[in-house]
């Protein structure tokens, strides 16, 4: 897991973990891996962390999951904490501030691109677009807090998308 975490500079993590877990180590089938990705994306929590929980639980249940999460996050997180401490120590240095201003601009651009990527999936689904616009206006326009918006819009969206009549 640590191996995956360090190869995961800025995304592409699921590709790497598939290569190591399914192809090289053969810990699980590709199908079971993809199911895991779907569940990891749907449920709250960071996708990669949720994926570790899923992979860990497949072998060892709770201890496996905890070990997997610790493995994927412990080293990178400790590194980040050290960088954070360094930031608060030296933030008076102008170059550091300028570097971070550049990094933040890049990060903001990447965050925006995520929205457009998902938008593409719903291009022809007007109900989905309407829900997204309402959520956007509530958060950005009216500045409602996230928790009530998710609770209300989430239940509304679930009832609108409730399967009717069709048998699978």
């Amino acid at each position: 897991m640590t191996q995956v975490a360090f190869s995961a500079f800025g995304g592409g993590m699921s590709l790497w973990s598939h290569r190591i877990i399914v192809e090289r180590r053969q810990w699980m089938t590709s199908e079971s891996f993809v199911t895991g990705l779907t569940v990891a994306r749907l449920f709250p929590g960071p996708n990669q962390i949720n994926m570790s929980v899923y992979i860990g639980s497949i072998f060892q249940g709770l201890p496996g999951s905890l070990a997997a999460v610790a493995g994927i996050i412990l080293f990178p997180f400790t590194l980040l904490m050290l960088l954070g401490l360094a930031y608060f120590q030296v933030s008076a240095i102008a170059e550091v501030n300028r570097l971070l201003a550049g990094l933040a601009a890049a990060a903001a651009g990447m965050a925006l691109s995520m929205g457009f990527k998902i938008l593409d999936v719903y291009r022809t689904d007007y109900l989905a677009l309407a829900i997204a616009v309402i959520v956007f206006v509530c958060l950005q326009g009216f500045r409602f807090p996230l928790i009530p918006v998710v609770l209300v819009a989430g239940s509304l969206a679930m009832s609108l998308y409730w399967p009717r009549g069709q048998r699978r």
Binding site: I49, V69, F77, M81, A108, L112, M158, P163
Partner: protein
Amino acid sequence: MTAIQTWLQVVLTFLKLSLFSIGGGNTLLQAYHHEAVETFGWLTNRQFSDLYGLAEAAPGPSSMFAGLLGLGAGWKHGPVWALITGYSAEIAILLPSTVVMLIASVYWNRWRDSPWRIAFERGLGPVTLGILFSVSVTILKTANHSLVAYALSFMVCFFALKTKISPLVFIAICGLAGVLGFVR
């Protein structure tokens, strides 16, 4: 405010938000900004966007920003408290969602025909979409203080969508532009 009070404030805040981080980790950015800058004043606007850039550029899962915010909140009580609060913040943001994910890993296939599962799968996506765009606007406004910075962000967004260039390249170019003083 004592160190313990700050710690408690941080841990409770992230425990509360954990289950609302749907669709990945980024959906919480706006809520983070609201709590860390506006409500509790753990960080300034500038520090928030600096740390966000740092978290995105560092290796590892992109969900470790909560820990950095905790670190920032604890910093005024010294580096040891900063680290304690940082690690605690990360555990707090991950714990509730990890427990739910564990349960889901075990039961998901058994719920195959449940209407709850179908409605959940279909309904959550559009909500996430709305949140992501709102979060993007907030982070654009927080991170960027000049037209050049906005232009860089929009260019990164465009090239991230239209090409397969690695995010590392964007980070390197924008970091360099920053050091050279183009981004204010």
